[in-house]
């Protein structure tokens, strides 16, 4: 009898399941007021003046006491799509909204999310005419503390928003003469963080400005037929792609085979490096791309693409840094084989001596080395920027921004970096 009980228990446990975590994007299409045909897109002056650090008088128990509110945009089909994002100090929370004006008021409709959990929901916000909308819709809005009040509700999941949240304009966003790069890992964030699009996809590149990113890191590999693509891991696996029957190293397959048989977790194709850079140059305002070298072998094909897209960006009047990331000795030695390597924009993750040897545009030490302010100052004196990677812990992000002198930070949580940078005084 004991034997049968033991076997039954074993079989039950073996076949039992664990909870599957998922984040279902809230349906934000049901706010009738926002969908009113008379609601119009916001004017550029109103958008720009709205950006700032806001204090929360309601909702601070859920989101924290401050929010950095900032616009981003992408270009789709020739149209600019603007999103208003709010970055909070608690639980790596953020909201993303579209904005419209209606009858003298400003309306914002979107969703919020906490990256430390699966919590998400709908958010509806408004600025009444007497609470800043009239000011923002004026020709030259001058915003002062308390002059803009953003009121609304947020809800849980798909539920209609019913919890009050109120923001009051506090001050301008932090900004330096030399811009700080909020660089997003894996083109915007990890698939495992339950984002609505897959890491290292074109869709993520178009999504990441909403998270506060001003730049991205992407992982470059070659297919069997030499096409540079974006993919992080050594092998095809279910963390990154849907089940297709293809196993083993991604380098075993041609691009045509991958394109026909494989989709990323959220259904996107594995993009070529060209497709990714096309999206950056022609559809976003991102100003920095870090091509992380995940392959061994010649860097020359990636270098050629890098040069091509630097020129394309320049032709569009864009300020865009595209650097080749060198994470190890192998890649460093391959880089030295490039003709005129000292003029090729690069990012060196090795020591300062190596960074100086190749005249790297950026030196990127790992965050575990600390803030290294003396070395950072030395590299600044050499005309070199310094980025730190990869920091995801909010306390560390705050400490490195407040105590360090870096020019950029790589993180899987760009919204957290954005919050800490923009509220920093």
């Amino acid at each position: 009898m004991r034997k049968i009980m033991f076997i039954s228990l074993y079989v039950c446990t073996l076949f039992s399941c664990k909870k599957t975590y998922e984040v279902v994007m809230p349906d934000t299409s049901r706010w009738e007021l926002f969908n009113d045909p008379a609601a119009l897109p916001l004017a550029a002056t109103a958008r720009n003046a709205l950006e700032g650090v806001y204090s929360l008088s309601q909702g601070s128990d859920v989101f924290g006491g401050l929010a950095a509110i900032k616009w981003s945009y992408i270009i789709e089909g020739g149209d600019s799509l603007f999103h208003l994002s709010g970055f909070f100090g608690k639980d790596i929370a953020y909201f993303v909204c579209e904005g419209r004006m209606l009858n003298g008021s400003l309306l914002f409709n979107g969703y919020w999310r906490k990256m430390v959990s699966t919590e998400t929901g709908i958010v509806h916000l408004a600025i009444a005419a007497g609470e800043g909308a009239a000011l923002l819709l004026g020709a030259h809005p001058v915003v002062t503390p308390g002059s803009i009040i953003l009121r609304g509700q947020f809800g849980q999941g798909q539920a209609v928003p019913n919890q009050d949240i109120t923001f009051s304009y506090n001050r301008k966003l932090n900004s330096n003469p030399t811009p700080f790069q909020v660089a997003a890992h894996r083109s915007g964030g990890r698939t495992s963080d339950l984002l609505p699009v897959s890491e290292n996809s074109v869709a993520m590149i178009l999504k990441t400005p909403e998270f506060g990113s001003t730049g991205i890191e992407v992982d470059v590999r070659y297919t069997k037929d030499g096409v540079p693509i974006l993919y992080h891991d050594n092998t095809l696996n279910l963390r990154e792609v849907q089940k297709s029957g293809l196993v083993g190293p991604i380098e075993n397959y041609t691009y045509e085979q991958l394109s026909t048989f494989v989709r990323l977790v959220h259904g996107e194709k594995i993009p070529t490096l060209r497709e990714a850079l096309d999206a950056v140059v022609y559809q976003t305002s991102l100003s920095f791309v870090w091509l992380d070298t995940k392959y061994t072998g010649s860097i020359a094909p990636v270098h050629a693409i890098q040069q091509e897209y630097i020129q394309k960006a320049a032709a569009r009047g864009r300020v865009l840094d595209i650097v080749i990331g060198l994470p190890g000795e192998d890649q460093f030695n391959q880089f030295l084989a490039l003709p005129g390597y000292a003029q090729v924009p690069s990012l060196c993750e090795l020591g300062v001596d190596e960074a100086e040897k190749i005249n790297a545009k950026i030196w990127a030490p790992r965050f575990t080395e600390g803030t290294q302010n003396e070395l950072v100052a030395r590299e600044h004196a050499n005309g070199r920027k310094v980025f730190v990677w990869t920091i995801d812990e909010p306390e560390f992000i705050a400490r490195f921004i407040n105590d360090g002198h870096f020019d950029g930070m790589l993180s899987n949580f760009p919204s957290c970096v954005a919050y800490n940078y923009y509220v920093h005084q």
Partner: protein, 205 residues
């Protein structure tokens, strides 16, 4: 969603408990059959059905996914003087296959697996044995599209099986076995029904 760590732990726990139970049976009446030590070869084949819960999503699928295939396994077991038996299992199965059509170009894929498992076994009641194995599956993608290739990956996995044996002679038996193969990382699994020949090819007291 199954977790590999949990499976590994459970299989390990099962083995430990079973060994403890076997070694601890100092007062158990041991019949002559159990005292006899032997090596047994189990060889057979049958039919497998792909049972994984994670859906296969080929974007250019043409037709349906074939989830049934022939399966063959070979298992070498050591029957010691105590209850828990040990052995090694290998074999071959096709988890699934399908065809694709992309414009005018067609192609096909099948995913095969070779189990490489360290197996524990114990008799539950007379003639009925359970098996639990842990190890890996050597999976291989056989692709015929834009050229042909075989791409392999070693994937952690396990199996469990239940068999019934008809003894034909002192050394030979016929087994009917239901076996569940499970590859963790790729979340592939199949339920196999096989008939096997069991041959006690070496024995001693």
């Amino acid at each position: 969603m199954y977790t590999s760590k949990k499976h590994l732990f459970l299989l390990f726990l099962t083995a430990i408990l079973a060994v403890n139970k076997s070694f601890g049976q100092t007062n158990v009446k041991i019949d002559s059959n159990r005292v006899r030590k032997s090596f047994v070869l189990q060889l057979g084949g049958g039919f497998g059905s792909y049972t994984a819960v994670v859906h296969i999503k080929p974007p250019a699928l043409s037709g349906s996914i074939r989830r049934y295939s022939a399966v063959g396994t070979i298992r070498l077991m050591w029957y010691p003087s105590y209850r828990l038996r040990f052995g090694f299992e290998t074999g071959y199965t096709d988890f699934y296959s399908y065809k694709v059509k992309n414009g005018n170009t067609t192609g096909s894929l099948h995913l095969s697996a070779v189990p490489l498992l360290f197996v524990f076994s114990m008799q539950v009641v007379k003639r009925v044995n359970i098996y639990a194995g842990i190890g890996a599956y050597s999976e291989a993608t056989h692709l015929n599209y834009d050229g042909t290739l075989v791409s392999r990956a070693l994937v952690l996995g396990s199996n469990i099986a239940l068999s019934y044996t008809w003894q034909l002679s002192d050394r030979l038996g016929i087994m009917a076995e239901a076996e569940w193969m499970n590859a963790y990382d790729t979340r592939d699994a199949s339920l196999n029904l096989q008939t096997k020949l069991a041959w006690r090819f070496l024995q001693w007291r």
